[in-house]
Each structure stands twice: as structure tokens, then as C-alpha cells.
């Protein structure tokens, strides 16, 4: 994972807030383009995911490629929205607005966590 050291953490909800002292099981980075429709949908879907299924187990960064182009370039992002699952390894890329909840769950290996 090659994020800028200055990239700020974004706290999605109180529940998903994780400090660096207690390492989270998941580290997710969502790349969006401003307040585009799909970017907004992806933000909402990610917020709901963190709140419901990854509560207390995730750290989330949101990168707006319109503000931080270099982060997108460094991570070989082709389109937005794209979600990088940096942790657990190996890094997985999910492209799209995250509306397909099953695809997202599969990528996060969440199948057995909740029905």
C-alpha cells in the first residue's frame, strides 16, 4: 500500500472508528471523484458496511482523486469509485459503486460472518 503519509483518515461513523493503537482487522481505501453520483452511492454503501458488518474492526480512508491525483496514480487506480482492501493481505480491488453487496462481502471474506 503506497498512500501518501499526509493522507488523512476519514472516520465513517463512531462505530467504525479505530485508533492506530489497536490495529484494525480491515483497512479500506475508497477512491472517489468529488460528489459524483456513483461516488456518493459508494460512500453511503461503505458507511453502511462499516457500521453494520465491520463495526469496530475497520479503518477507512476516502481519497478524492480530484483533490489528490497522485494517490490515485500511485495506486494504479483506473476509474472511480474504486475500493482498495489494503488489509487483510493480499490487496483486493473492488470497482464500482459497491451496490452489489454480495460481491463486496465475498471480496472481504465476510460470507460466514452474517447471513
Amino acid at each position: 500500500m503506497d498512500l501518501d503519509p499526509g493522507q488523512k483518515d476519514v472516520t465513517m461513523t463512531n462505530k467504525s472508528e479505530c485508533s492506530f493503537d489497536s490495529p484494525a482487522q480491515y483497512h479500506l481505501v475508497l477512491f472517489v471523484a468529488g460528489d459524483g453520483l456513483n461516488s456518493s452511492i459508494a460512500r453511503q454503501n461503505l458507511a453502511s458496511l462499516c457500521e453494520n458488518e465491520l463495526a469496530g474492526r475497520c479503518r477507512v480512508n476516502i481519497v478524492d482523486v480530484l483533490e489528490d491525483f497522485s494517490a490515485a496514480a500511485k495506486n494504479n487506480i483506473l476509474v472511480t469509485p474504486t475500493l482498495l482492501v489494503c488489509k487483510p493481505e493480499p490487496v483486493v480491488t473492488i470497482i464500482g459503486n459497491l451496490s452489489d453487496r454480495e460481491k463486496v462481502r465475498a471480496a472481504l471474506n465476510l460470507k460466514e460472518v452474517k447471513p
Partner: protein, 401 residues
Amino acid sequence: MTGYSDDPLQRLEQAESALEAIRDEQVDAVVGSKNIVLLKLHKAEQALRQSEERLRLAMDAGKMASWEMNPATGTHTSCQRLKEIFGLSAADGKRSRDQCLSLIPEEDRRLLVEADERALATGESFEMEFRIRRPDGEMRWIRSQAMPVKDGQGRSVRLVGVVVDITKRKETREALQVSLEEKELLLREVHHRVKNNLAIISGLLDMQCQVAKDPAAAAALRDLDTRIRSIALVHERLYQKDNLARIDFQDYLDSLLHDLRFSMSPDTDIRCTARAQRISLGIDLAIPCGMIINELVTNAIKHAFPDGKTCDGQGGPEIRVEAHKENGHYRIVVADNGIGFPKGVDLNNSSSFGLSLVRMIGTHQLGGKFELERALGTRVTFTFKPRHKEKSWLDSISAPE
């Protein structure tokens, strides 16, 4: 999904899933090596923009301003045009509701606030017109329509509405009303003057009649006088009643028969009755019909009852006038129980000026037809169907026979 890697195969897989996401319209932007291309032609977004644009154009066309109020949070948002209508500057962003309300006169303000509360309580929309005094002192008429918005449980949680400046419309309506009243006054005045002038002519004829030495000349002047009076009566009825365009024919006939009866034959006891219920006529039909009835009744008073004789010698002399309307056709009946028309004399061959006049007006101007029945006195039935645009009755009189 793929793992991020520099492996060319995985890069290809990523590119393919990116393309799939683009096809599914789940992508906002494509990140190139040097720049970012925003994908703007998103169907859903486009549809939303178009719908917003349509709404905006409609609001522009109607010069409507919109507002929204949330009583729970106490927030009130309004569009720029609302501020323009109320004469507030764009900077007056906060407390816009209070500012708007302060421009409404107290009584209307109270009613408006009550209506808002009632709408939220009952869930029913409402509309209201009121005046405002803008900060620059200008008075404006406003029409406000509001509708409560319900949440999932059916409770009204917000109030949305539109506001239109109807000052111009109000002014136009008031100007129209004034103009209408002026027109009515003028028309009433015209009818009054026509009636007065006809009364002067009638008076002159009366004076002339009194000095006429030849009895035939005097009789002709008297007949002319009754004809003039039957026309004057139409104008009198028009300006005396609320409706300036039509007269109540029953009312007209009652007066006409009363006048004829007492001017022509004050000493006899001929009973004259009229029945024309629920018939109202415009001036174009009232005058020719009035003249026809005037001639036929005058004729009956003069000739039907010599020395008070009737057809069967029983019962008093009687003249009946009736008017009916059926399927757009008018039927006028003038009947008496007198001794009857002389044998061989018909409406069509009579040499009498009065009956010629009846024939002329009835057939030429109104396009109707007459029917004469001689059983038990005389009964003349005249039927006609009004044309869309009547010729003036004067046209038919001046037209060569």
C-alpha cells in the same frame, strides 16, 4: 475483484472489470496517467438533471418561488426568487421566514401562520392570497400554496410551497371590473335616453292626435303611438333590471298588455292575460316579438269584441298571449274569444297596415310562420327559430317588399 499487482495479467483483469463497471454506469471518472476524465453522461444523473431543469423552467415560466419549512428543526429554506418577490436582498439568508412574515399585514399573517399549522396537523394542502409591504414600501399581492410532506408513518413533517406574485393579475382584474361597471352604466344610460326620446315622440303623437280633425288620421296616429310605446317598453325594461342584455318576457308582456288595455279601451272589461314564464329575450328578438304581439292585441281590442260580444255569447271578452320555447324554437300565441276574423280576410291578404307589419316582421325578419285558427274566436300562432345573427328589424321595414 482482483488483487492489486504489477502482474500484467492482473492489470488486464482490472482493466476488464473497470470496463464492465463503466458499462454498468457505476463509474464517475476515469483516471489517466496524467489527468482525470469525468464521465458526465450518466443516465440517472442526466435524467435527474433534466427533471430538475424542467422543474426550474416551469417555475421560471410561472414566475413561481419555492420554499420549505421544517417545524421540528425550525429551518426554513427558500429559493432566490422568493427573496426577490418579497424585495429582500440575497444576503438576507437567515431567518428568511421571519423576515417574510414581518412584511405581511398582521391579520393576514395570523391567518397564514394558522393555515400552516392546520396543514401540518391535518395533512391537507391550502392556498391563500394576501398582501405584503416590501421593504421599499411597495404593496404586492401574493398567492401562496402549501402542501405538507409526510414521513414513512404518515405524519406531516415538512411543509413545502410555492409563492407567486399576482399583483399584475389583481390589478388587471380590478381594472376589468371597473371597466365592466362603466360599460353597464353607459349602456343603462343609453337605454334610458332611447326610452326617453321615444317617450317624447309618443307625447308628440298624442298631442297631434288630439288636434287631428280627421278621425282616420287620429286613429292612425294612435296606432303609431302604441307601436312606439311597445319599443320604448323594451328599453325601459332593459335599463331597469340587473341584466342589460335580456329582458324577462313575462314582465314585458304584463306591462305591454296593461298599457294597451288602458290606453285603447279604458271603459270595456276585456281581460288580458300573458303567460311567458322563464322566457328571456335579447333586444334583437324582444322588439320584433313585442311589435307582433302589440299589433295582434291592438287588432283584437279594436275588432274582436264589437259592443262586448264574444264568439259564444258566454263569458267575458278575453285576450290571451302565450310564449313558449321548445328545442330552440319559439312559439307565440295570441288568442281571443271574440267574433273572429271576417271571412275571406287572412293574415296574408289583409290590407290592414298593422297586419302587413306583423307579416313583414314575422316572416321576413324572424323567418317564422303564422297559423290562423278561427274556431271559438281567433287564434294566431307564430313560430320561429332565432338565427345566429338577427338582422335589425329596421332593415326589414326599409327593405322593398
